[in-house]
């Protein structure tokens, strides 16, 4: 320990050089005001004795007690004392910081002092209300006041800074969440750049056939928003694009976006002649195995932007499309493009991905008659191979028995997803009902562990499905196995309510696979320096009070990227994200209290301990330079301070010297008071 003491001394001798330390301040003149709070304090603590004791403490110029410090008279008393005694710091020993620090700070700032020169000592919640013994409470209050005075003597003024910001936002991800957020922001007059990695916008919603709880057509529901975003003068839509670099902080991010070539120019009229002549036919990713497309294609008819895309991976360079195109839109010379954008805030709306059930080998996903719900949605879509008919993909026959299996990849510790997706019960019920509607003679079994339909109209939706005659079985299948002696799929499950193990011979099995974080999000979150939850989704700032903020200031989360959500929740969440992202941009500047971290460059040995510690990435270091704190990003948590081996990084008003003075005073007064007793 002697070593650290030496370090401490060393620091003191060098302190004068540190321009940031509050060394050149005028001599502290502290006023102490002890509050009675009626009987709340004075009933237990001898306030007069405390005020008397305080008057002998170092740097105290004035000390008194009063019935209600926060009353108008109390405040006037403080202001008068400050003026009369030339006080430059105040200590009020009364209630909690949260309750009245702002009151008294304002009182002194009205007199022209920096509000941070006020110190609140909580002798009510932390002393009189928790201590029975009057003498002990009084002694404790004295120690607390002594500590407060020591702290006050070391305090420094803290400035507030206005930081101008770039009035533009970037939305990453063009699903319904990204669209909603982009639209809301643009409507506030904020220019938006929307970055979507696929060829078209709309995300998963455009793949769905119907949406619960109304069974509306999702394309119909979302297309006004799609068209609105495409045509909005303040929204620039970049498809086939990804964020490849992010620099800067809230108010001023510099984002690099890389756009892959489409090989078709925007003048494409979507006439489709190129696709007609293209000889290459491949599986359409959009349709999850239920549709085909050409090498030059649009993933689905209503896709926006309404421009074809040439897929060079499959194209055989025959040139037919070039010849046939009436507007010469096809262009093989297009190349990758990199652009940088300056934006004030960023909204991340990269959605989710369906869980891949291959991992649960007992379920034999991969067999053509065992499909996921997203595949079911595509099978039901009128534009795919089956033209919306429900068939067994293996042979095209109408299934007589269908089994829907819930909780596939959710609520499953074995695959590492402990969470309940929360949406699959509803979409499972939706599709089970649609199957029953299309094929009334088909038996539909629905195997579930629990049915989770919280919210208005959701249980009602479940009840309607029950009326259709779906057989609900409470049990999770142990195995789903293609029968080696026939073409059925054998589903083994216990109906736990009748204790009956059974084997259902199904023609078609639909797995309600859960929602997981999208592939590639790890890379994006690293660029954005976002924390991720262990499940892979982006971690929100606070689960209750900040569900649309990310762990990084200026970056907001919208939709399923923060955790599984249905469309209703996604849209509401995206709206919240948009207003949070707009707030600073509408205001035009950031107001920031500068009690942030500062680095004494002379002391710093560039160990980078602070850089790796800072939970919000506020400290950066340039090649060959000492680390620098970004004042805008720093949240004044102080986690970096203990990380520094030489005490070079400090936060204003919570410096080592300030905190140590408080603790030393507390303990030395404790020893004195104890000594005096004996």
């Amino acid at each position: 320990m002697s070593k650290s003491e030496k370090k401490g001394k060393q620091r003191k001798t060098r302190k004068a050089k540190n321009k940031d330390e509050p060394a050149e301040q005028e001599r502290p003149r502290v006023g102490v005001f002890v509050c009675h709070c009626g009987e709340n304090i004075a009933g237990v603590v001898d306030v007069k004795d405390v005020a008397e004791f305080a008057s002998h403490l170092p740097n105290v110029e004035y000390s008194t007690d009063y019935l209600f410090m926060c009353s108008k008279q109390g405040i006037e008393l403080i202001q008068k004392a400050v003026k009369e005694h030339g006080l430059n710091r105040t200590v009020v020993a009364s209630c909690s910081y949260e309750q009245h620090w702002p009151t008294f700070a304002k009182a002194i700032s009205d007199l022209g002092l920096n509000p941070h020169m006020h110190t609140q000592v909580n002798i009510r919640e932390w002393c009189s209300w928790v201590t029975d013994d009057k003498k002990a409470a009084t002694e404790k209050a004295k120690r607390m006041v002594a500590a407060g005075v020591a702290r006050a003597s070391k305090k420094e003024p803290v400035a507030t800074r206005k930081i101008p910001i770039t009035k533009r936002t970037m939305v990453v991800g063009g699903g319904v969440a990204g669209l909603r957020a982009a639209m809301d922001l643009a409507e506030l007059g904020i220019p938006v750049v929307l970055v979507e990695k696929e060829t078209s916008i709309g995300g998963h919603m455009t793949m769905l056939n119907k949406t619960f709880p109304t069974n509306e057509c999702p394309m119909c529901t979302v297309s006004p928003l799609l068209n609105g975003v495409m045509s909005h003068p303040d929204i620039e839509v970049l498809t086939l694009s990804e964020v490849t670099n992010v620099e800067g902080t809230m108010g001023h991010f510099v984002v690099e976006v890389t756009t892959k070539p489409r090989y078709v120019h925007d003048n494409c009229t979507s006439c489709g002649r190129c696709a007609d002549v293209c000889p290459v036919e491949v599986e359409n990713e959009w349709d999850h195995g239920f549709g085909m497309r050409k090498a030059i294609y649009k993933p689905f008819p209503q896709a926006l932007p309404s421009v074809f895309t040439l897929d060079t991976k499959h194209c055989i360079d025959c040139g037919s499309c070039v010849i046939v195109c009436p507007v010469d839109a096809v262009d093989f010379s297009m190349t990758k493009e990199e652009r940088t954008f300056e934006v004030g805030t960023i909204v991340v709306a990269t959605g989710y991905e369906e869980y891949d059930p291959t991992e649960i080998t007992a379920y034999h996903y991969g067999h053509p008659d065992i499909i996921t719900q997203l595949q079911m949605e595509r099978m039901l879509a009128p534009t795919t191979l089956t033209k919306g008919k429900i068939v067994r993909p293996s042979n095209g026959e109408v299934p007589k028995t269908v089994v829907v299996v819930q909780c596939v990849g959710s609520r499953n510790d074995q695959v590492g997803n402990e969470y309940c997706t929360g949406v699959c019960c509803m979409f499972g019920i939706k599709n089970a009902g649609i199957i029953k509607d299309h094929l009334p003679d088909t038996e539909v079994y629905f195997c579930y562990i629990d049915i989770r339909t919280p919210g208005l109209y959701y249980e009602e939706y479940y009840k309607r499905a029950q009326k259709k005659g779906i057989r609900f079985i409470r049990g999770r299948p142990s195995t789903i196995t293609p029968d080696p002696t026939g073409d059925k799929i054998r589903v083994e499950v216990e109906d736990t309510l009748t204790h009956m193990p059974m084997c259902i011979e199904a023609d078609l099995v639909v797995l309600s696979a859960g929602m997981v974080a999208p592939r590639g999000f790890g890379k994006l979150s690293a660029k954005l320096e976002l924390l991720r939850a262990k499940e892979g989704f982006a971690k929100e700032y606070h689960v209750k009070m900040g569900p649309v903020r990310s762990s990084r200031d200026g970056v907001y989360l919208a939709g399923a990227i923060q955790g599984p959500k249905d469309i209703t929740q996604t849209v509401a969440h995206a709206g919240g994200a948009a207003s949070a992202a707009a707030q600073p941009l509408v205001q035009g500047f950031l107001e920031k209290r500068m009690d942030t971290a500062v680095i004494d460059e002379e002391l710093c040995i560039s160990c980078l301990g602070c850089v790796t510690t800072c939970p919000v990435g506020a400290i950066s270091v340039a090649e060959g330079e000492k680390p620098k704190v970004n004042d805008v990003a720093c949240k004044s948590c102080g986690a970096c301070v203990p990380a520094c081996p030489v005490g070079a990084i400090q936060i204003r008003n919570f410096r080592d010297s300030q905190l140590n003075a408080e603790v030393s005073a507390l303990l030395s007064v404790a020893a004195e008071l104890e000594g005096g007793d004996e």
């Binding site: 080998t361 007992a362 034999h364 195995t479 029968d483 080696p484 002696t485 054998r490």
Partner: protein, 293 residues
């Protein structure tokens, strides 16, 4: 240096199906693997019954067997799923729990043994199907077989998965690939990967239930017209062999499908004619058909 193993006999192989033992020895010899005998070894002891009565005692008895193999300085090789289940699990537990090792050694000291758990426990199916492998085995074959076979894996070779990590227990391919290399035409049947019903003390304690489980498997195997059941465990072997007779007596069925252990079939493909099928209860007159290479 030639590979060597401490061959763990267990109970059923030497005491009921000695032909599995003789073919195993034949196969290992042909593969150039040296066998170290495990003098004084006993029952593994069976993971179903004995572990159920008293797990700590079961561990001590198993650790004694492990200690004998360790003294030989060669990894332990089992020919039985049950032995593999017990010895693998105990070896794994001792490897990962120093406290447990101390306790077990304290009790072993009274019996005059000491265990370090510094070796591996292997199953013959792993050695043949993985270490030698379906490609490697070709070099040792004198002939192939013509046989429509139904594989039975048994439980304790692959499960519990998180301990064994040999192959996916829901859809393994290790034996399929291996038996195919011997010329077998494989047929799948319902509930192929289900238990034969023998384990867990059920055969000893509740023979009727054990037979019902077997009957379900047998029905599926006969339905697909398999000519033989291919297994890797003498206990499953016993269940299929004598169990078919019991089923026939009890339920009036007429199951008659010969049962062949991996060592027996491998020995045959390596040129050994007498693989001891004539000593078995079911189909003693069954003759394997050879296909010259």
């Amino acid at each position: 240096m030639a590979q060597s193993y401490s061959l763990f006999l267990g109970c059923i192989m030497p005491n009921r199906y000695p032909a599995i033992e003789s073919t195993t020895r034949f196969v290992l010899d042909k593969l150039g693997i040296e066998i170290k005998e495990m003098e004084r070894a006993g029952c593994c002891p069976a993971p179903g019954v004995f572990r159920s009565f008293n797990k700590p005692d079961w561990m001590v008895a198993a650790a004694r067997n492990l200690a004998i193999a360790e003294a030989n300085g060669a990894d332990l090789l089992t020919v039985c799923n049950g032995c593999f289940g017990t010895l693998f699990e105990v070896n794994h537990a001792l490897k990962n729990d120093e406290e447990l090792k101390k306790d077990v050694n304290a009790r072993l000291a009274d019996l005059g043994y000491h265990v370090e758990a510094n070796q591996e426990v292997k199953h013959i199916a792993q050695v043949l199907g993985f270490d030698i492998g379906p490609y490697g085995i070709r070099d040792y074959l004198k002939r192939k077989v013509r046989l429509r076979g139904a594989i039975h894996y048994g439980c304790h070779f692959l499960r519990p998965f998180h301990l064994k990590q040999i192959d996916d227990p829901e859809d393994p391919t290790i034996l399929e690939d291996y038996f195919e290399a011997l010329g077998v035409e494989l047929i799948d049947y319902r509930r192929k990967h289900a238990c034969c019903g023998a384990g867990g003390g059920v055969r000893a304690g509740h023979i009727e239930v054990s037979l019902e489980m077997l009957g379900e498997k047998m029905a599926a195997i006969t339905e697909v017209g398999a000519e033989a059941i291919l297994d890797i465990c003498p206990f499953c072997h016993l269940q299929f062999d004598t169990g078919q007779k019991s089923l026939n007596e009890k339920f009036g069925t007429n199951f008659n499908v010969p049962v062949i252990h991996i060592s027996q079939l491998t020995a045959f493909a390596m040129g050994l004619d007498d693989i001891g099928l004539e000593y078995q209860t079911i189909a003693p007159d069954f003759k394997l058909e050879a296909v010259e290479l």
